[in-house]
Subunit: 482 residues, 2 copies
């Protein structure tokens, strides 16, 4: 039985309506600020709404329920198609990006990667900047929904660990699912609003504060300035960003439970404490290295270490300094960080910390069994004993993640990129981070100079990374369609 | 109960006697060729024999049997200690290497890596060159023994797949083990002799033919010339080397069975066919790329592609061209190849092809289960169904291999190496290959310029890689000593 395409088309229609509404809002914003982009946003909104309407209307009167395979298909199709419609305003005059560049920018937006091909951001019209930031914010809430609702059913990459308890009792599933979705959106909006207020109070213009709030909470990293956070040159703002980037990289279900119970319990989600401890260690080690090797005042060194390490480790991708200038150790350090990622159920990309926890337990168990073949050594995640099958599915994920990384790196080299740039592009795109290391795509660099072929492969890599690889891979299996 | 140190000391004593005998032979060779190195070889032989004798004598009259933990300890101790004694002749005048350099050279020798700190090989005394080549040849037969006899018992990295059938019936184990060991040594010597004759007939001097035969069969890669195989500039020699490098990277148990039965059966060892097919594809792809991008005559391009790809993919590490000059794609290609490795049960390093086969089956099974949760999809290796536990142990190996790679790469960067050099050193050392990419350690480079700290970390990496990581890691577990 082929997967049904109707549920996918219907849902896609509703998502495209949301995109059209966003574009419409940008047209109004453009009129209000008189930045001269209202026409292309208006036309794009109309075109997108037309397609959205067609999607919804063709499915009228058909009966279907959304099955797991349909959901998989829908997700992949949505992450491929939506950026194309979101890119319409960027293709038109006066922004006038090439089709590939505009699509790249919006894939980078909706996957919350934050790699940009636009140079001279400081002079770009406000409505265009706001649209870029909004695309990331929409992509962020989209991926949280995907991670909480769809992924655990796919048994992908160990995500079955995070299956909500109620999913087995289907009669109560829908209302509870709805209440959770509402609560998550509330948290997302509240955090964004809080971030906006803090940025504003600490000295950003309201417009900058809005844009950066939209791209901080979703750990995405588009900025309104070529120098990113370096433009503000404010330690207070950098520490505020550290706080909100970390919040954005925590599991939203855990945030929800913490807010409801008022306390944090280790048992709720063991990845939270590990993640925070690891972040502190990473910042401390790098801070000490920075103090020892660079001539920086202590406070400044710690700020720079905290901001830039957290930015990469949460897969946000802001920069407040050109870490390429700190030498090779910094480059390799940031490259290594780009594999880590945040917590699952957040907007962060990367391999994600719970998988490292599971792998650590697997390795420990394996060594114990090597020494004492008959020892009973279960694999654990927190207090929970994990079946071998789930541990294996984590292992498969890590393997495929690194395999995808290798393939993209080799392709980038084949397109003529240097070795450092090739591996850095691959890690950054699959991890949904943004900047990388090396001259071309380092924190002071930009993706505009890459050849189109490289940009297209990067788009695929960003989408694969965003959808945890396997969700895309299953579509290439003939048995998926049987 | 602590592991017994006596079996380790006794066996170490016998291995050191072999090293002493080798050094003694070099002293005689030096006398015969009058190259002026007889004194240091003679003195080294005497010193090594003295320690060897002490080891053997202190264990006299003690009763013990070699248990698995003792064997593990022995193996790691042997691979750390033996290079120190083998390095004695290189520390003394007139070779006069620093202690770190000499130890590095011999670790690189005995682990069959082939990275060298010696510059101006063409002018080095014959006895010293022959000793380097001999160290690799000895290390090669050592690792085959380790892989066939010890590793399968450790259940390390999926090696339990290769447990010999008779190992459960202990009364017949020892005689059969002896007959297999004898047969393997016979094959090893026969292949070396054949390689020597072929190299000689195709134009090498007898001395060059001997040295290169010794370092080809063990996929190790020390040469007698700074230009490695490039010195000979002979396509015939390069193709001969391709043949013998591939033979050295095949499982010796499979070679033994093929020689005894006179035919090759897929069933004997599924990794053989896969490995050969993969090599042909890798050579073909790179050959086509070389033809398309470089101005080379077709025959020459194919020869260069075959020789250099096979050299890295078998973890030998000879070079016949400075592939750094072919641009970035070649660099990234050779870097990626350095993770592959040969077949298990051979002298090759790297992750090894059977693990990729198992991981492929695991991924396939996982995707099938994702699509059809109730499908019966066993993990296979060839026709054999593998228990989940063995598949997991392959996954753990791959994870630890890449983790070790990352740690070494970050350390190299901390020691001041460039990013490309750092990651290349890490991959090359853990994979026991030899040359890497970049200016410093590329095929035209040399390891002499590295700081001592980097050389010491590389020594550890080469030994860890050679002993399949886990054999070293278990020694760091407190429970190993309980």
């Amino acid at each position: 039985m082929l997967p049904q395409i109707w549920p996918a088309i219907l849902t896609l229609g509703w998502i495209l309506f949301a995109i059209a509404a966003g574009e419409g809002a940008m047209a109004l914003f453009s009129l209000a600020t008189e930045d001269g982009h209202s026409t292309e946003f208006g036309v794009s909104a109309a075109a997108t709404a037309l397609v959205a309407g067609a999607c919804v209307l063709t499915t009228r009167g058909r009966q279907f329920d959304l099955k797991f395979r349909d959901a998989t298909l829908l997700t992949v199709v949505a992450w491929i198609v939506v950026p194309a419609f979101a890119a319409l305003p960027l293709i038109a005059e006066p922004v006038n990006l090439s089709v590939v560049d505009a699509y790249f920018e919006m894939v980078s937006g909706i996957t919350t990667t934050g790699a940009t091909v636009m140079v001279g951001l400081d002079k770009v019209a406000p409505s265009v900047l706001l649209w870029r930031s909004t695309s990331q914010w929409i992509g962020g809430i989209g991926i949280i929904g995907f991670a909480i609702v769809i992924l655990p059913f796919l048994k992908i990459g160990g995500m079955q660990l995070f299956r909500l308890e109620f999913t087995e009792r289907s009669e109560k599933a829908l209302p509870r699912m709805r209440s959770i979705a509402t609560a998550i959106v509330e948290i997302y909006v509240t955090l964004t609003a809080a971030c906006f207020v803090v940025y504003w109070l600490l000295g950003m213009t309201p417009f900058d504060a809005l844009n950066h709030a939209l791209t901080t909470i979703c750990t995405a990293g588009f900025s309104t300035h070529d120098a990113s956070f370096g433009y503000f040159d404010s330690p207070a703002l950098e520490w505020a960003a550290v706080l909100f980037m970390v919040l954005g990289a925590l599991p939203f279900m855990a945030l929800l439970r913490m807010m409801r119970s008022g306390t944090f319990k280790e048992r709720v989600d063991p990845q939270v404490r590990t993640y925070l401890v690891v972040l502190v260690i990473l910042v401390a080690v790098f801070g000490v290295w920075l103090l020892a090797s660079q001539e920086l005042p202590t406070a400044r060194a710690l700020t720079k270490a905290a901001f830039n390490v957290v930015s990469i480790a949460t897969t946000t991708g802001y920069s407040s300094a050109d870490y390429a200038l700190w030498g090779t150790f910094a480059s390799v350090w940031f490259f290594a960080l780009s594999f880590m990622g945040g917590c699952t159920g957040s907007t962060a990309g990367g391999i994600k910390i719970f998988r490292f926890k599971v792998m650590y337990s697997v390795v420990k168990q394996h060594i114990q069994r090597t020494i004492y073949p008959h020892a009973v050594a279960p694999i654990r995640y927190g207090n929970q004993v994990i079946p071998d099958e789930q541990a294996a599915s984590v292992g498969v994920f890590v393997f495929l993640y690194l395999a995808a990384f290798s393939v993209v790196a080799v392709l980038m080299a084949a397109f003529g990129m240097g070795a450092e740039t090739s591996i850095s592009i691959a890690a950054s795109a699959i991890g949904n981070i943004g900047p990388g290391i090396g001259d071309v795509i380092g924190p002071a660099g930009n993706f505009s100079s890459l050849p189109d072929t490289a940009k297209i492969v990067m788009c695929l890599a960003m989408i694969m990374g965003r959808l945890e690889i396997l969700a895309v891979l299953v579509l290439f299996m003939p048995s998926f369609y049987r």
